[in-house]
């Protein structure tokens, strides 16, 4: 059809052009998947049936799936004709018969609109069809196809078609019809009774059909239908073939047999290949094809597990099976038939606690070992040990071509298969910044060297040569400096679109870097090292490398994180350079000298040497590796770091003195969360305050929802004001989350709401997910009851709404799938750039919104959210204590001089680190007045700040509890909340050292509390003993329950319930007590004069001989187990309390000596025994007696039984209001009658 060609040229060429711009090779796309970019690529890239391409099916006969050029009008083949088995013989007949029909019937009406008769056509064609189910996606696609097909037919009809006359030609020797018709090229036919009947009789037996649908038209429709089936088949076949082709085009394909061979021969093999070589997706498949089953593939990131499992499932044609599956922390698709399982390293390690030899796997593939995550390193160590016990186990390490020998040597020189990546040549240029050129303002980065390179590019490379620029800088402020300057340049030249890229950007903002710049304009992406490995951007041709990186380092001494700028490693330098050569030859400008490069560290420091090892050590002990110090690490962390973690775990009550797990340690080792978060969750569930604790724990575990804009944009700051909590940042987060739920429940859009407040909505969705996961975790471990959500009752209106939402979600998803196939195009704007299609973002968030609405009971969520909004001060205090149980010893005390300082200079001290500041993003930084407590009734009048209370007694002293310390240019407290000082410290300190009469308590050796009255001191210490004992016993009971009755029905011990009540009541009382005290920080210089020490006799009791002591003990009927503390002196009453070990300050001296020795009459509040005891003896008895409250005393039992009886009786009583005596009484029915009678008489 030569004359058609011209017409087709233009759309085709424009298509190609378009295609070129967004062209990305399939393995790059795959790489994105593995990298965990959030879009779900393969599905949108390989749509089921892509109708948008059906145009090509008609118009481009060259296309693989589109050999047709439309059906000649009027041509049709009936079912009977096409159905015969002797097709060849009949083909000829049908040819003839068609002629007859064509003579019989009029020309087919190409303008006939079938879509108007959907209902009737459904009756004829789709009533019983298992090909297209009504309402399915295929069905909808078919109708789209039909419209396009008819369009095409109309165009054809417009042109004079039958130029070549239908000559009667001699018969072909294969019995082929001489007159061409596309229908002869369809190799499928459809059987349908309804269609058959209709074509015979012109009507259906059991249903009415529109009159307009004549037999001819139904035939025409059937014809289109057959073309659709053929089209769909061809397209799916093309998809199959493309999968194979793409696989064979990957660099690693050439190494398939070598890899398989090596794995069969050796126990450990290293596969090294750079980004894009295909190792992550292909090696597991090679193993499967080689006959291996039970293949585990670990990934450092959860999201990579999911996307890889989908991708490999798709490639192995198992998209809908479970042969390829994933399992991550809270989600799994694994079944019995699973052969390849993608899972996180953390999860595989966890599986070893129940299956130490990992017998469920035959091959373990560890991907991205070069990234050297803490779990990767640990896993390698564990596997090294495991290999001795499992000679049949195969281990494959997959790495980029970085430091390969390290891995190979670690596993006794394991063989290495090196796969070259797909990298184009890169021209390297060193352009060191000369010192003199540096701007005098040294704290801000001078952007001019970066601009010079941009100008250089402008001059040297014509704008018609595409290729974007990627600049690597160390941190946010550096990025902002360069972005600002570069945008000025861009405004002048109109040749650049400048955009930042860093972790604090919102997801949408981050996604913009993938959009396409218009012709003649380059993108200039200014990024942190996030673009080095985690985000892959195509089309980058130029790299500018500052050679710097800001990394979080951890200072174990202060448990403080520190953001510092370092030179990068040579490996990083190469990685950065390589980013220029992914799609074509590139150029890399290094803003440092070659000699600098030579001096760089060879490799980046592995994570295990940079981060706290708390969770790791805990897990090692739980796995039966009792001594972390002796573990054969690939590259060991410092011994100091291990020791610090062991100390921390002991302080947290997770490890015993012998470094074995305590019950709480055991529970913590099972929860795959940070120790601090884990403790909060356990306490939250024990105290039935779980919902807010879940929210806060989730908020602490995700990135802050406050974007970088949130703290600089004045409108956002103002709009967010109502969310701020006077109690601190964790409560502000809780408020924000609750309010977000509320806005959603009210049926309003939350996207705009978030945007206005500078909040990143994605984080809230993550929080919801995490909350649910934490909850399930606690339920699985018996810490929370599994409440079966009562069948939600919906009114018909609500049901209709749900249905509507579901339908809309489907539509939106489809739209989105189409949308994400296309890259958006950027527009060059006056002062900034703008994304040409802003609607996609809306769509994205709409989909999330609807998904959320459909999967959550918003009313219920709002109910709990409302609950937390109606917190009383009592609730808040309890909540604070729960949070502190995890956070302690993360507390700081205000500096004495704060009231004389500016807001930004308010200083705080922790035990180990003095002079910390409030981070500017926190609530208290902008409202330091909140840290000035309201005046006590009892205390002196006049203004008082926390600091001014120094040396003054109050019941309102507060400390700041914080989540972490961060040092950037200054050391900061992050995520702070204010907590009642005395209560927090006395409850959570590991050591309480008291004076003889307990009016002076030194907590953990750095905070000194002094009570005004001896009586209240006595009361406090008694409360602390009771609370801590009850707390411990309650935890023990609850954890016993969860450990022992795992199979049996899980039920909370009634004694635990009792203790819960006691604890809640007592704790509330304790928190609201208005005991007057002073608090101060003990300075380092004072420590040596703080304790009496072991040599000096402080107590009368110590003066006595052992005999005398025994006698006395006998008299008072107390077993004094307490021994003098070896260092501090005094008597060690229990694991935290040491009595009378403080050197008395001069004033209290005489009085103290006197009281300590004095024996007084005392009745134990628990066992009710009366005795005459000294202070120490009393403490000893109380401590021992309360420690036994895990079981009830006889007296308590009787009381309990009576109470029970009482409530049973009360079951029959109801509340009755008597109008005559105007009283509400609780009476049984008969009693009510009796009562009424009393009034009658």
């Amino acid at each position: 059809m030569p004359k058609e060609k011209k017409r087709q040229r233009s759309p085709e060429s424009s298509y190609r052009h378009h295609k070129h711009k967004k062209r990305r090779s399939s393995d790059e796309r795959r790489q994105d998947d593995c990298r965990g970019r959030k879009h779900d690529n393969h599905k949108s890239n390989e749509p089921r049936v892509n109708i948008s391409e059906s145009k090509e099916y008609f118009e481009h006969p060259r296309a693989d799936y589109s050999e047709k050029s439309g059906c000649k009008d009027g041509a049709r083949i009936s079912v009977e004709e096409r159905n015969g088995s002797k097709v060849a013989a009949e083909a000829d007949n049908s040819d003839k018969r068609m002629y007859n029909e064509e003579e019989e019937e009029s020309e087919v009406d190409v303008n006939f609109d079938f879509t108007k008769y959907k209902q009737s056509l459904n009756r004829i064609f789709f009533r019983e069809s298992d090909l297209l189910k009504r309402g399915s996606d295929n069905y909808n696609d078919f109708w789209t196809f039909l419209v396009k097909y008819q369009d095409f037919q109309r165009k054809r009809a417009g042109r004079k078609e039958s130029t070549h006359t239908k000559l009667k030609l001699p018969e072909s020797k294969f019995g082929l019809p001489r007159n061409y018709d596309t229908c002869y090229r369809l190799n499928t036919s459809v059987i349908s009774k309804d269609v058959e009947i209709f074509l015979k009789k012109g009507r259906l037996i059991d249903a009415e059909v529109d009159k307009e649908l004549t037999r001819a038209r139904v035939r025409q429709f059937q014809n289109i239908f057959l073309h659709y089936i053929d089209f769909a088949h061809k397209q799916k076949f093309a998809k199959l073939k493309k999968i194979r082709q793409d696989q064979e085009n990957l660099p690693i394909f050439q190494y398939k047999s070598i890899i398989v061979e090596k794995i069969k021969e050796h126990q450990v093999v290293v596969v090294a290949g750079d980004t894009g070589c295909g190792k992550s997706t292909q090696v597991p498949q090679y193993l499967l094809q080689a006959g291996f089953e039970n293949i585990a593939c670990t990934q450092p990131r959860r999201i990579a597990c999911i996307s890889l499992s989908k991708r490999v499932g798709y490639e192995t044609l198992n998209e809908y099976g479970s042969e390829v599956a994933y399992q991550v922390r809270f989600e799994r698709t694994r079944t019995k038939s699973t052969k390849i399982l993608f899972l996180t390293e953390g999860l595989l390690l966890r599986q070893m606690t129940s299956d130490p030899l990992l017998t469920m796997y035959n091959v373990i593939v560890i991907d991205e070992v070069h990234e050297r995550h803490i779990h990767t390193d640990f896993l390698l160590g564990v596997l090294k040990c495991l290999l001795h016990h499992r000679k049949d186990l195969k281990v494959v390490l997959m790495s980029a071509t970085i430091n390969i020998n390290l891995f190979s040597h670690y596993f006794d020189d394991a063989p290495v298969v090196k796969v070259p990546g797909r990298l184009y040549p890169i021209q390297l240029e060193y352009c060191p910044i000369k010192r003199g050129e540096q701007n005098s303002r040294s704290d801000r980065l001078d952007p001019s060297p970066y601009l010079q390179i941009m100008q250089k590019i402008n001059h040297k490379y014509p704008p018609s040569e595409r290729g974007d620029l990627l600049i690597f800088l160390s941190g946010m402020s550096e990025i902002m400096a360069v972005v600002e300057a570069a945008r000025m340049l861009a405004q002048k030249t109109k040749q650049w679109i400048v955009m930042p890229l860093h972790g604090a950007l919102s997801v949408e903002e981050q996604d913009k870097i993938f959009d396409i710049a218009p012709e003649g304009v380059r993108k200039c992406i200014v990024s942190t090292n996030i673009a080095e490995t985690s985000v892959t951007i195509d089309g980058v041709r130029f790299i500018v490398d500052s050679g710097k990186v800001k990394e979080m380092s951890f200072d174990p001494k202060y448990k403080m994180q520190r953001l510092q700028e370092f030179w990068i490693s040579r490996a990083s330098g190469e990685q950065r350079k390589g980013r220029a050569g992914r799609t074509g030859p590139g150029v890399c400008y290094r803003l440092y000298d070659e000699s600098d490069y030579e001096a760089f560290q060879e490799y980046t420091t592995p994570e295990i040497q940079r981060v706290p090892l708390d969770s790791l050590v805990l897990q090692m002990i739980a796995m039966g590796l009792p001594d972390a110090r002796k573990f054969p690490f690939l590259e060991p962390p410092s011994l100091q770091s291990i020791e610090n973690s062991i100390t921390f775990l002991k302080d947290q009550g997770a490890l015993t003195g012998q470094e074995t797990l305590t019950p709480i340690g055991e529970m913590l080792s099972r929860l795959p969360v940070d120790v601090v978060i884990g403790k909060m969750l356990i306490m939250g569930s024990i105290f039935h305050m779980i919902d807010p604790v879940l929210s806060i724990a989730a908020a602490m575990s995700v990135q802050s929802p406050f974007t970088s804009r949130a703290h600089t944009d004045h409108d956002a700051v103002a709009a967010r004001k109502p969310l701020e909590s006077e109690h601190g940042d964790p409560f502000t987060l809780l408020n924000a989350f609750d309010e977000w739920i509320k806005v959603k429940a009210d049926g309003h859009g939350t996207r705009k709401w978030c945007k206005r407040r500078g909040l990143e909505e994605q984080r809230f969705y993550e929080m919801v997910k995490l909350k649910k996961q934490f909850k399930e975790l606690l339920q699985d471990h018996g810490l929370l009851d599994k409440i079966v959500e009562d069948q939600q009752y919906l009114t018909s209106e609500e049901r209709r709404q749900k249905h509507g939402e579901r339908k809309k979600l489907g539509e939106l998803r489809k739209e989105k799938a189409k949308e994400s196939r296309k890259r958006k195009f950027l527009k060059l704007e006056e002062d900034d750039y703008e994304v040409s299609d802003g609607e996609a973002d809306d769509q994205e968030s709409d989909v999330k919104d609807l998904e959320f609405r459909l999967s959550h009971n918003l009313n219920k969520l709002q109910e709990t959210a409302n609950k937390s909004r109606n917190f009383t001060l009592r609730d808040i205090n309890l909540l604070k204590i729960i949070l502190c149980s995890g956070l302690y010893p993360h507390v700081a005390i205000a500096d004495d001089c704060n009231s004389y300082k500016r807001d930004s200079e308010q200083a705080f001290h922790t035990k180990s680190k003095p002079f910390l500041l409030l981070h500017p993003t926190g609530v208290f930084a902008s409202h330091p007045e909140l840290l000035q407590p309201t005046e006590d009734f009892n205390s002196m009048s006049g203004p008082s700040a926390t600091s001014e209370l120094k040396g003054r007694s109050s019941s309102k002293h507060e400390l700041l509890a914080y989540v972490s310390l961060l040092e950037t240019n200054k050391p900061y407290l992050m995520n702070t909340m204010r907590v009642p000082a005395m209560q927090t410290v006395t409850l959570f300190s590991n050591y309480l050292d008291t004076s003889g009469n307990c009016t002076r308590i030194v907590c953990d050796g750095w905070l000194e509390i002094q009570f005004v009255q001896e009586e209240s001191a006595e009361h406090v210490i008694s409360s602390v003993i009771q609370l801590r004992a009850t707390w411990q016993n309650l935890i023990r009971l609850r954890l016993q329950d969860t450990f022992q009755t795992s199979e049996k029905e899980k039920k909370i011990n009634p004694r635990a319930l009792k203790l819960e009540n006691v604890l809640a009541k007592k704790l509330t009382e304790f928190l609201s007590s208005d005991v007057q005290y002073t608090i101060r920080r003990i300075l380092a210089a004072e420590i040596q004069h703080l304790y009496i020490g072991p040599d000096r006799k402080a107590d009368n009791m110590d003066n006595k001989t052992d005999d005398e002591q025994e006698k006395e003990v006998h008299i008072s009927k107390i077993t004094v187990r307490g021994k003098p503390h070896p260092v501090k002196g005094g008597i060690q009453i229990n694991e935290y309390l040491t009595h009378n070990c403080l050197l008395d300050d001069s004033t209290a001296s005489v009085w103290g000596e006197y009281t300590v020795c004095m024996q007084r009459h005392w009745t134990c509040p628990r066992c009710k025994t009366s005795m005459i005891v000294s202070y120490a003896e009393r403490l000893q008895h109380e401590s021992d007696c309360q420690a036994q409250n895990i079981t009830a005393t006889k007296e308590e039992e009787t009381v309990e039984r009576q109470e029970e009886l009482h409530t049973q009786l009360n079951q029959f009583r109801k509340s009755y209001h008597c109008d005559i005596c105007d009283k509400t009484l609780t009476l049984t029915t008969t009693e009510i009658l009796k009562h009424k009678k009393t009034h009658i008489t």
Binding site: N83, L176, K236
Partner: protein, 102 residues
Amino acid sequence: MSKEFICSSCNFKTQYHYFGKKPPFVKSLVMMEDAYIMKDPFSSEGGIIPLGSHCTICGKSVCLSLECSIFYTKRFCVHCVKENISEFPLEIQTEVMKKKNK
């Protein structure tokens, strides 16, 4: 274990689930030739993908991509079409010739 279909022309290999005219997976569909059929792995709604068939003339198995075969009331491998080009209608002739030029 499923059996493997191999195209003699392009070497494309994949598993197939049925060979013949009436794939049992889809009741309302019949093939006009004895074809290698795979259950559609890209859909959860059932369906099939025809993979290829045998050439009517030489009997070799060929996949249904245009590089390897054409269907015109019967399956012909591209090689056999070229050998017997005059037996085919003009439309197919031009199509095959164009391919040659490529």
